[in-house]
Amino acid sequence: MILLYLNSLFRLYTMSRRKFISQIIQPASVQEAPPPPPGGGLTPYAGSWTTDQVIHLLKRTQFGVRPEDVKYFATRTFLQSISELLNPSTPSPNPPVKDYVPASTVAKPDTNIAAGTTWVNDLNADGGLDGNRVLSFQKWWIGNMINQDRSIKEKMILFWHNHFATEADTIGNPIYIYRHHQVLRTNALGNFKALTRAVTLDPGMLVYLNGQYNTLTAPDENYGRELQELFCCGKGTGSKYTEDDVKAAARVLTGWRINATTATSYFDITRHDKNAKKFSAFYNNTTIAGRTTATAGELELDEMLNMIFATSETSKYICRRLYRWFIYYDIDATVEATIIAPLANLFVQNNYEILPVLEALLKSEHFFNSLAVGCQIKSPIDLVVGLCREFTIAFPPASDYATNYGHFNYLFNWASNMQQRIGDPPDVSGWKAYYQEPQFYEVWINSDTLPRRNQFTDTMIVTGYTLNGFLMKIDGAEWVKKMSNPADPNKLISDITYLILRIDISAASKQQLKRDILLGGQSDDHYWTDAWNLYISTPGNTTNTNTVKNRLRDLLKYLMNLPEYQLC
């Protein structure tokens, strides 16, 4: 713990920018004996494949669960479903577009780019455009998550963004930021070693962790340190790299620079340290010979990655990260032995291919253990994007990029206010929810963010957000048509809670909600049934339609205000 604290202090001074976190009240984690962790090992799950399992699987691998996706996967087998989630079929999204008008103060505005077309190939380096373009990128990313296909890809992209955390505010250059994101996107389900290599040489990362200034005469240890501490080895008990290893790694990485004209990185041998680099016993006392050719940078990097990836820590570290992303944060000795260790072996056996590991984890008994259900606190993105998806909120056609980007911006701001600003995590460690002991996910919820979460869900069901005359809002009456029998108030409430809550509320609570809300205080179910049937047969009856819509609004608002709704 002390080490951890020192480490974060260290970062506080080394990182270029710190966000001010206002005074918030955060109670200590509820103190009691820890609950038992999920049981079961990596043995493939052989239990039943019902909507229970479908919903759990989708809550963890996607943002929110759309009713139509539950139906879709329920008609496929377990194995087909896992396979489809792991193998995205849709092409990469079109790049972000120009949705801004450059300020009049911009010296070199990008008048060559038409509104609504992409800016990502325009290398105009005028810093006056940065703010506009970075925001365009962030809105675009929100849109990608909302429009995700039936695959795990978007959740993995966010995983890698949290893992190889970089801040747009620090990098500044929107082209670098976009290309860095594309590295994560392209490799999200590929090979972890290849991804690490690509990130190491990526201009955005060379800016963010000062690699571009790491030279023979003035070595900068920033990237060499995080490569081991945060990206590959971690700080587990078995991770025993030394301060000298940090220095040696920095020396291996000397000489990489950025060509600002092409926005690409290149190796400059004149700035490279050509001496041998000696590593500690943790790395088997490896020595990486100094090289003098133009390919020295890549050759030495590959040799160093081989060395790092030959330790058993890298695979374990990444598997723990994946565990905390997809299952729960508490990794006790049993989980370490029955899940992390075998998963790590699998990772090594498959040469650090990511898919076999994800497949084993998602197919496991452990993943579907009842104790693994509902124990994640939704991240702000999970809440915000998940809400739009699970209530299938309608957006304008893609051609209306201006309105779409405006709506995405609104959602982006909400998630940012709840402390998750995509593209701008708090620091190179990523979001605290995935590493800060002992609270982990609970970091997301405090006296400032919980009311914002409630306010967000209230807004999305009560008034929505209007831009360019287009209203973004949950249409409760339309949405409940997807339930099995909306005319039956009992079935309706249980269908909704089943879909949106992973910890159920009691039957008595449901009865009270039915009576107070759907029946307006009456006791006969037919009052709701009649109103619903009349709404379906005669939607033009505005009085009745109003009644139905208002009751559904109140019901959904109530359910989303439950603490249970914050779990997934």
């Binding site: 967000f456 807004t459 509320i505 009691s506 008595a508 609570s509 603490p563």
Partner: protein, 522 residues
């Protein structure tokens, strides 16, 4: 830690907290601003409290207030369920209370109960949902109004709510309802002005600092954590706990009576000093289509039990308020969405009807009976209904004017029309300092206006939308919808050929919204 039972018989206590704030999460809106440090006052200063008792289901007024004056026709129409005239509690010699309502009989004797005959409205609606909405919104029968009459009143008193609340002059909820949701009654033009306490159990859990148990699982652990934060987050929860703590002794309320349970909480909060102006409680089961009475003794049965509980709950409430020294400050009223048919049906019940009596109770109420005993046709048919004598909106208008001290010139904006006032409340002095409360982000001038008015709004920058809605919530104009630099701006609203009446100007500036009522006159 012992393993705890999970599912409770009540709504989870954690529910209480966010749903306490049934409208919007006030705390998040409660941004600090220089305005908050100044002394802020509502439009009128009064410590008067209104308690609304909703009787869900359509209460049978004719068996509650029996028309002794027209007794034979009444017996004729209701041969299987009528209340014998020698059993009723006499009122003014022309009508009598159901014999189960001894408590209200006592209040009547003490001059603290007003019985208003035949309260209703033109073209009555017989659907529970719609009729309830009409009573709560105070709309015409054929007009859908999306806000509640008390919500509009509170919006008038606290015009900028929820921006800048709670604040120095209003630390407490504007309105409190016991139940899962705040009803339409408390709905303002855009946000709910009230909060709800989902159940009596949850109220005591809050006061006693208890949260619902959660299972000893990873999910249960996270749930408990969120519930703890939820409890800590609620500023109003603190105010409620503080008020409750000031009252340590109350009279004995009848047991197994959910209305009594609710009123007991209300008395405690009022006497504990909450500045909350309006409370709403409700009691259901009045939809007595069948077996409303026991055939062998029509003074007993389902309806008699309901009335007995209403009567004993209100009586205990009044006794409690007197004991706590708060009875000068409180007036209550009962209502139900409709009365029941004059003629009983074949299953010793009654079907949906129209006008019915309302009760007003409290020390400041002018006791007695208002209106004529309902006339019962000699051969009532199945479709006969009582015509109304008093529009229910006259009762509301009187309460607003004579009890909650609303200026007559402002009544129309709240009630949407002019209604005659009734002799219901003793003369009470109203102090009327006028100031603004909260942070005003949108206003208009002139108001009232005849054709056009200029709307002034303050934006924190970024995308800002100004739209005008009618009372049904329909958007009738989008005045601006674009990016702004922070500052104060104006837009004109030209109402053209729109009908006269109340309109609402709504500001949407990212997460912030605020609504301003505007009155168009000819």
């Amino acid at each position: 830690m012992k393993r705890r039972s999970f599912l409770q018989k009540t709504l989870p206590a954690g529910v209480l907290l966010p749903s306490l704030l049934n409208g919007f999460s006030f705390r998040a809106f409660g941004m600090s601003s220089p305005e908050l440090s100044s002394l802020l006052l509502p439009a009128t200063e009064t410590d008067h409290v209104l308690v609304i008792v909703q009787l869900n289901g359509g209460n049978d007024g004719l068996n509650m207030v029996v028309p002794i004056e027209n007794f034979s026709n009444y017996v004729n129409a209701r041969s299987n369920i009528y209340i014998p005239d020698d059993k009723v509690i006499p009122l003014n010699g022309k009508a009598g209370l159901h014999p189960a309502m001894t408590g209200l009989g006592n209040l009547y004797e003490d001059g603290q109960l007003k019985v208003i005959h035949s309260v209703g409205y033109p073209q009555p609606n017989f659907s529970h949902f719609r009729a309830t909405d009409i009573w709560m919104s105070a709309s015409d029968s054929a007009t859908v109004v999306n806000s509640g009459w008390a919500g509009r009143y509170l919006n008038y008193e606290y015009p900028n709510f929820p921006n800048g609340y709670p604040n120095a002059s209003m630390t407490d909820p504007l309105a409190i309802q016991i139940g899962s949701v705040t009803s339409l009654t408390f709905q303002g033009a855009a946000v709910s002005m009230g909060m709800s306490i989902s159940s009596a159990t949850n109220f005591y859990n809050l006061v006693n600092g208890v949260t619902d148990p959660a299972p000893n699982t990873p999910a249960g652990k996270e749930l408990s954590y969120i519930r703890v934060v939820a409890q800590q987050t609620q500023q109003y929860a603190t105010a409620i706990k503080a008020a409750a703590a000031k009252v340590t002794k109350q009279v004995t309320y009848p047991s197994s009576n959910s209305l009594a349970d609710q009123l007991k909480i209300v008395a405690r909060l009022i006497a504990g000093g909450l500045k909350t102006r309006v409370y709403m409680v409700n009691y259901g089961g009045f939809d007595t289509h069948s077996v409303q009475v026991n055939s062998n003794d029509t003074t007993t049965g389902t309806h008699a039990t309901l009335l007995k509980n209403v009567s004993s709950a209100i009586k205990a409430f009044q006794d409690d308020l007197r004991m706590l020294g708060a009875d000068e400050r409180v007036v209550g009223m009962t209502f139900s969405e409709f009365g029941r048919r004059i003629k009983s049906n074949g299953s010793t019940g009654t079907d949906h009807g129209s006008a019915a009596p309302c009760f007003l109770f409290g020390k400041q109420v002018m006791g007695g009976v208002l209106g004529d005993t309902p006339i019962i046709p000699s051969n009532a048919t199945v479709n006969d209904n009582l015509p109304f004598q008093y529009d229910f909106r006259s009762v509301y208008a009187t309460l607003l004017s004579k009890w909650l001290c609303v200026e007559d010139r402002d009544l129309q904006q709240i009630m949407l029309k002019n209604f005659q006032q009734l002799p219901l409340i003793n003369g009470v002095a109203c102090k009327k300092p006028v100031d603004l409360s909260g942070e005003q982000l949108i206003s208009n001038y002139p108001n009232p206006f005849s054709s056009s008015t200029v709307i002034t709004f303050k934006t924190a920058g970024g995308h800002t939308l100004i739209q005008v809605m009618d009372t049904s919530g329909r958007v009738v104009a989008n005045l601006t919808d674009k990016e702004y630099a922070p500052g104060t701006y104006t837009v004109a609203f030209n109402s053209g050929f729109m009908p006269s009446g109340v309109y609402y100007a709504r500001l949407q500036n990212m997460a912030i919204q605020q609504v301003r009522p505007m009155l168009k006159v000819r």
